[in-house]
């Protein structure tokens, strides 16, 4: 790889580590108490949920209204394995968590393929309706099956999640999606969103890419669900209903469908905001809903649209302004 890319990666890595360092210090020294710590953990999980939904809805362009269903599958799978591995087999936490969440992700991905193959043949509204039905069926199934604990919920899950784990899991997931979107497969997926018929006319196998795109979205969503499990310690079907899917969708839409950085920033804002406004519960929801409606009317592409924020580009631009460097070097994609 060339120098420009290498320096770009290093800068991003540095920022990631610095942010981690700051947050971990705040938590470790107790400046951030448990309440704040759990909020930060939920921010990381919401980032994973939002970016994964963005991949199917924003990048692939197929609106998924039942993303919570993938989260649920990941969560309950991880919960089952987690209890087995930790409480029964006594495996070390990091092994338990890693194996469980990956298993959850894979199961979610397989589900994504299973519904994707029939569903992605449908055009427009029908696909959305299908995904909505999928999400609801998952919730109802969890509610009714005995081994998931039914309506009372799945309790007794070891609360093994730490900030460090969830932060780096988040980094891995976001990096995974970002790097994928800038590869030939990511471009193919985006081309389907842009103009499916044109994409097919230049040789893109739309069926295969659509199913793969949905599966990847489900995979990461399922991993998010698994992380959620080990933070919560218990699961209930009501946590994964249509409302949850909508919560995540709102974050994606407001951040900008097609912008991973948009999803990240929106996830941060819209995890903190409801907490901060917790006392004003119903008014908060009204404000939320109004914000959504106003945004759609005034700026439907969300804050970032399909653009990404690049730290490297920002730094270069600042440098260029102060040192008057030849702006030729700003052209081209950065990672």
């Amino acid at each position: 790889m060339d120098k420009r890319h290498r320096s770009s990666y290093l800068i991003n890595l540095l920022v990631i580590l610095v942010v981690y360092g700051i947050l971990q210090t705040l938590i470790g020294t107790g400046i951030f108490n448990n309440y704040f710590k759990s909020i930060i953990i939920f921010i990381c999980i919401n980032i994973i949920m939002a970016t994964s939904l963005n991949f199917s809805t924003g990048f692939l362009g197929q609106l998924v209204l039942g993303h919570a269903g993938f989260m649920a599958i990941g969560a309950y799978t991880a919960a089952t394995l987690g209890v087995l591995m930790h409480s029964v087999a006594g495996m070390p936490p990091i092994v338990t968590i890693t194996v469980s969440i990956i298993a959850g992700g894979i199961l979610a991905a397989l589900t994504g393929v299973a519904i994707g193959i029939p569903a992605l043949r449908l055009r427009g509204d029908y696909l959305e309706i299908m995904t909505l039905a999928f999400g609801e069926i998952v919730r109802i199934a969890i509610n009714n099956l005995k081994f998931t604990g039914g309506a009372q919920g799945f309790t007794g899950i070891p609360r093994l999640m730490s900030f460090t784990y969830v932060y780096f899991a988040m980094v891995v997931c976001v990096a995974f999606l970002m790097l994928l979107s800038r590869s030939r497969h990511g471009r193919a997926i985006i081309s389907i969103r842009e103009n499916e018929i044109a994409a097919e006319s230049v040789g893109i196998n739309s069926t295969r890419y659509k199913v793969t795109g949905l599966a990847i979205s489900a995979l990461v969503g399922g991993i998010g669900g698994g992380l959620f499990t080990f933070q919560m310690g218990f699961l209930q079907p009501t946590l994964f209903g249509f409302m949850r899917s909508v919560d995540i969708l709102v974050i994606v839409v407001l951040g900008g469908m097609g912008s991973i950085t948009g999803s990240v920033i929106a996830a941060i804002v819209f995890t903190i905001l409801p907490e901060a406004l917790r006392d004003f519960n119903e008014y908060r929801m009204v404000a939320y809903a109004l914000l959504l409606i106003v945004m759609m009317i005034l700026r439907p592409q969300g804050i970032f649209g399909t653009r990404e924020l690049s730290i490297t580009k920002l730094l270069r631009r600042t440098r260029a302004k102060t040192k008057k460097i030849d702006t030729e070097s700003l052209k081209g994609g950065d990672d």
């Binding site: 790889m1 590869s183 030939r184 230049v202 040789g203």
Partner: protein, 252 residues
């Protein structure tokens, strides 16, 4: 070698026969025009050739192999490229990305390679960038490489669509009304571009057009259809004087 061979093509849309007993043969290097009044079935024929519709009856062979029932993306791999009546670019992407997507076939690195940024990834991406920029340069579009496709002037967008179709290295190129919406200057430039493409890229071209200047100017052979049926075919001079053709366009 016969690049494209169409026999007894028939398309019945639930009672409406859009294409009836259509036949066509295109050899290497040919520049053939498909004309006919509006609604004659020209775009439907294109859609049948490229797999966007499946014919009710008939056979279509591309380089000797049948394409009937195959998906559009498979037919592209077999050697057909096309442009659309209403330009279908990837509007929000850059000009370069538009081409690179068409270049996907020529790249082979896996998902894992892409994510881990393996040497194969860098190598193939670099090669792709180079090839795509060269292709853009051929069309004088390399200056726009990093601009958003939808920001291009109309005439350049058309050229971009043609360039993108060529990135799949087709043997036959199907152009659907490439001169639509162009003024005489742009059309003249387009005529040169089409001839140049045929010569440079060593392909055959089948085009649908309403602009008779363009058709008469560059097509070596013309097929005229009306109500889904062929009413005349031959050299431009013959077609110009053919009474059936004149009747189809101007009425009695």
């Amino acid at each position: 070698m016969t690049l494209l061979e169409v026999n007894k093509l028939m398309m019945n849309f639930g009672g409406l026969i859009a294409v009836d007993d259509f036949h066509l043969k295109i050899e290497e290097h040919e520049l053939v025009g498909l004309i006919g009044p509006n609604g004659a079935g020209k775009t439907t024929i294109f859609n049948l050739l490229t797999g966007n519709h499946y014919p009710t009856e008939g056979d279509i062979k591309l380089c000797g192999k049948s394409v009937v029932g195959k998906k559009p993306y498979d037919i592209v791999a077999m050697g057909a490229g096309r442009t659309f009546q209403n330009i279908r670019l990837f509007n929000n992407l850059t000009v370069l990305d538009n081409i690179k997507i068409a270049y996907n076939k020529s790249m082979s690195y896996s998902y894992l390679s892409g994510i881990l940024r393996s040497p194969k990834y860098w190598r193939q991406e670099k090669k792709a960038d180079k090839a795509c920029l060269e292709l853009l340069a051929v069309f004088d579009l390399d200056g726009y490489a990093y601009s958003i496709a939808s920001s291009l002037p109309y005439g350049q967008q058309r050229k971009l669509e043609i360039a993108r179709a060529l990135a799949t290295q087709p043997k036959v190129l199907l152009l659907d009304e490439p001169a639509a919406g162009m003024n005489p200057n742009e059309t003249a430039e387009l005529m040169e571009t089409i001839k140049f493409v045929r010569n440079e890229f060593d392909i055959a071209i089948l085009l649908i057009e309403h602009d008779m200047n363009l058709v008469m100017g560059i097509c070596e052979r013309i097929v005229c259809i009306d109500y889904g049926k062929i009413i005349a075919e031959g050299l431009p001079n013959e077609i110009k004087k053919n009474p059936d053709v004149i009747k189809a366009y101007l009425g009695e």
